[in-house]
Symmetry: C2
DNA sequence: AAACTTTGTTTTATTGATAAAACATAGAAA
DNA sequence: TTTCTATGTTTTATCAATAAAACAAAGTTT
């Protein structure tokens, strides 16, 4: 019996010995709020966490005390407060990339009339770190901070294609294992071939294959010692897109801006 | 003796009975990283928290497991990962204001050649929720998500001036009590007079009084039922500023754009 | 109106987080 | 080299966080 108990402890120790439930749940509560669920009740939060109502009661008290959330005194429901921005922006502020690239991305947006973005690699995902939406009404609404699987986006493939071989293969093997729901199925062999041709061409042009209804052109950004550090893209809704214009004007424009940013990066980062 | 213990418990219960140390410290760790301290060691974090190294050891393990931070396998130091952006952006995405105001703020920036911003009230602070930096090199670098005391900024005073009387007085009395370090001293009587004149004029023009070296013009944004919901401003470094230009062109331009945004807000929010 | 649910809140027993100490290792100082 | 100090890691005793239960209040259903 004692052996059984020890075994269980040993099993747990490998992975989650040091995992703190309080912190896990605190962060989960913050992430629980969304555009669809701007406010939540204690019972909803408890049910989402799969715990008794006592736990979030205490968590919510703490988060409210810190200023991250508020409680409506009448409805008793909770919602996020602007202070949550501080948590992420300390990171964003520490990045030099978006600041440096801002004028280029804006220029690109204004020249093409399409939304321009910059993204970096984070694990298996592309994270958007800068965004300049098209001035038109019907615009692509992907936000800074958004994560998308690397193989489902033009920027992602672009980055992947220019990664050093060992990192590329490591990521490809991880993608094969994961198979994220809602993301396109990863046919690693096919993808590897595609990446080779992307590397040769120097850009990616998606005509709505993955993000349905969205056309996108992406180019890599290189830092010093020619290592890929980010990618930029422009995106436009399909019905507003024009293949000839894309081929003749847009793709060269994106490539040109990417080169400009890269040469600037070499100087600074 | 028992009574003493009970008394202590009772005292604690009023304020911090439900405060969770784990969550407090977890969030504090995330906020500890900054532009100056992009990486931190376990010992540094423990010392900053004022606790033994065991506590952050566990916290850091949890945060790393969740993908919010990484640990350099060689130096053992920790740093933020892009996932921290998710925490704040769920809030930012739920706001309609910055999206709706974006084209107006950009227009204002391009017309004036100065940085344009939008801010909302959060407690005693102004939070920046949108930002369009001037295209020039020497630009004002205040970031989205930044908090500044309401009485130290043009936007803050602007918002304060147009608040309903009861809310205004509540905030003024709170400001008097707090007296934030590094912020200008609050002379409530003087401030109240100033707010009255601001409300009459409809805008605020700071010539470097508070943020030294920065000139700023702010205007309020009204939502439906004419309640002030935000403020916008433009800012420029003192040496690039021209008083005549400000008075004749810039101030009218900011007021004009503010009216445009307000009339748009009435329709939507 | 009465009975039934649901929700927020408080209390107590148990489980998990923390501090203190001990240990291992690496780099700095002697 | 040897000693010393600082840092990361593991162990154990104590204290705090959680689940379960019980309660009050408000809203629903009957």
């Amino acid at each position: 019996m004692e052996i059984t108990k020890k075994k269980l402890e040993k099993q747990k120790s490998d992975n989650e010995k040091y995992l703190s439930n309080s912190i896990l749940r605190g962060l989960e509560v913050l992430k629980m709020f969304s555009v669809e669920n701007q406010t939540l009740s204690l019972a909803e939060i408890a049910s989402n966490l799969g715990v008794s109502r006592t736990t979030p009661y205490r968590i919510l008290y703490t988060l409210e005390e810190c200023g991250y959330i508020y409680q409506d005194s009448h409805t008793k429901r909770y919602g996020l407060r602007p202070k949550v921005l501080e948590l992420g922006y300390t990171y964003l502020n520490s990045l030099e990339l978006p600041e440096l690239a801002a004028p280029y991305l804006e220029k690109l947006r204004d020249e093409t009339g399409m939304s321009s973005h910059m993204g970096i690699l984070d694990g298996n995902d592309i994270v958007y770190i800068a965004r300049y939406p098209a001035r038109s009404v019907a615009t692509i609404t992907i936000n800074v901070g958004s994560h998308l699987p690397v193989h489902a986006t033009a920027m992602g493939k672009c980055l992947l294609a220019h990664l050093p071989e060992e990192n590329k293969e490591e990521l490809l093997s991880k993608l094969q294992v994961l198979q994220i729901p809602d993301a396109p199925i990863v046919e690693v062999k096919k993808l590897r071939d595609e990446l080779q041709s992307i590397k040769e061409k120097g850009y990616v042009f998606h005509k709505g294959e993955f993000e349905t209804g969205v056309w996108s052109v992406a180019c890599p950004i290189f830092g010093k010692d020619n290592k890929v550090i980010a990618a930029i893209n422009i995106a436009i809704t399909q019905h507003a897109a024009d293949e000839e214009l894309m081929e003749e004007k847009i793709i060269p424009a994106v490539c040109q801006v990417a080169r400009e940013i890269s040469s600037f990066m070499v100087l600074t980062i």
